[in-house]
Amino acid sequence: MDHFFLSLIALSCLGAGLALLLEVADSYLGFYGECEIDINGGEKELTVQGGRTLLSTLMEQGIFIPSACGGRGSCGYCKVKVTQGGGPLLPTETPYLEPEEVKDNVRLSCQIKVRGDIEIEIPPELFLIKEFRSRVESLRDLTHEMKELRLRLIEPDTIIFKPGQYIQFQVPEYEQCPESVYRAYSIASPSREPNGISLIVTRVPGGLATTYIHEILKERDEVTFNGPYGDFYLRDSTREIFLVATGSGLAPIMSILYQIANDGISRRTTLIFGARHKKDLFYLEEMEALKQKIPDLEVILTLSRPEEEGRWEGERGRVTNVLEKIIKDGANKEAYLCGNPAMVESCVELLTKKGIPGELIFYDKFG
């Protein structure tokens, strides 16, 4: 019996001794103390507890670096220029960095840890990216498979964004969605209405976010999103504007059109909106209202399968057929495309062939 207790005590002591050793080691090796993060040469200084990734540390401090994968190192979006204190380049970063970026000290913020004082440079517009709490103001059907979701901001109560940008909508946990996920949606409302945003959500069978928005979300529910993100916005120039959208790709294009109307931009503008059937078209009244406000706006609607609908007096065929017909040459023109990747790619190919330089074709692909 003594031997039994003896063995228990001996093993427990050994275990306790090793645990103590590791605990002591952790308090020395795993502790980085308070670290200073200097952003854009003193524009903002943060004092944080070291030891976590730069991405999550910044997020905790209310600075949202775009990240689609949530810090797993698989999307390569969370690039940040680290001028001081980033440590050596890690093998998990190199697949996502171009040689010039490496030379320029660009790093993946989800891979590097804050281990000491660190100096970083981020585009100032990232300071505008915030997490917003909002309430569902309205949820209405645009077509049989599309809903317009209008959100009124609670905290913060205004959003500053460039028309054409998108937000990341947080889908909370629900039955078919075991953990909270983020999905990107472009803002369809004008930037002149900073107290709320509208999103267009197409139902995708089995989609985590679309099922949630189409079936579970009700008016007055509270939802969270962060943003704005993206470099799809109207460039300042005098060139003629071609806006091309299919499906829910109309969302950022509408926001850009409101901007053209509200700011009194007098550039020749053509909107080409493509859908399959007549019942897939939406925002037609809004387009009529915009035509009143923008004298130089021409709206072209085109259906790829109009015959099933009966009477249709608009264009027939895909958006590329319309572009082919109306664009004679590429001089002094720029194009903004938004919709499914196949449409965007074929339009880019056509427009380049017409002579519009690649750097004047802007697009946002909706997967």
């Binding site: 001996a10 050793l21 050596p88 380049l89 890690l90 590097i112």
Partner: protein
């Protein structure tokens, strides 16, 4: 002097004639998984050398000064494993702090050193063969260096093989196992030279 000399022999024997990887076939999983490039295999090898040397010393002390006096030899497996696990955890903390690059390169294989059978093998061999403290440490260090030698050699060969035209069914683990077999054949050729037990 006698003792020092035999520790020296044990050290060399563990590297060449009784290479733990190529004659006892212990520690194969990380040998196959991390041997794609010399750099990563060398990093893992160094970690194994360090862990093996230190744990053989620690395990020797724990076994002879704790387990044997208390008559608890039958606990040796669990005790050895706990000691190795704690030590690997410590090494992981040190590497994460001192070399983030090596930490990322080794990835999951660093914690997997915990269950690297070569390390437990060294601890058990030293008990079976009745080594002294000095011999045990020499055997641990030699075993680690021998393991590293084998994995780095394999890393070098596989790096060379990248451009080689290997029959499709043999690509990857297939050809690696065949190479391991040939390397083992060469190392087993040394076995008669020194007897260490």
């Amino acid at each position: 002097m006698e003792l020092g000399l035999s520790a020296f022999i044990v050290f060399f024997a563990a590297i060449f004639t009784n290479n733990i990887l190529l004659t006892n076939f212990l520690g194969m999983c990380s040998f196959l998984a991390i041997s794609r490039e010399v750099k990563a295999s060398l990093g893992l090898g160094l970690a194994v050398i360090f862990v093996m040397t230190c744990t053989s010393a620690l395990n020797y002390l724990v076994y002879h000064y704790l387990l044997v006096p208390l008559g608890l030899e039958h606990f040796r497996f669990i005790v050895f494993i706990i000691v190795i696990a704690a030590f690997v955890q410590l090494v992981e903390m040190v590497i994460e702090r001192s070399s983030p690059v090596l930490y990322v390169v080794l990835g999951i294989f660093l914690p997997l050193i915990t269950v690297n059978c070569a390390i437990l093998g060294v601890a058990l061999f030293m008990i079976i063969r009745n080594y002294t403290f000095l011999q045990s440490v020499a055997y641990g260090a030699g075993g680690g260096i021998g393991w590293t030698l084998a994995i780095v050699a394999m890393g070098g060969i596989r790096q060379k093989l990248k451009g080689a035209n290997i029959p499709k069914p043999l690509e990857g683990p297939g050809i690696t196992l065949i190479i391991a077999g040939l390397m083992a054949l060469a190392f087993i050729g040394f076995t008669g030279m020194i007897q260490i037990q």
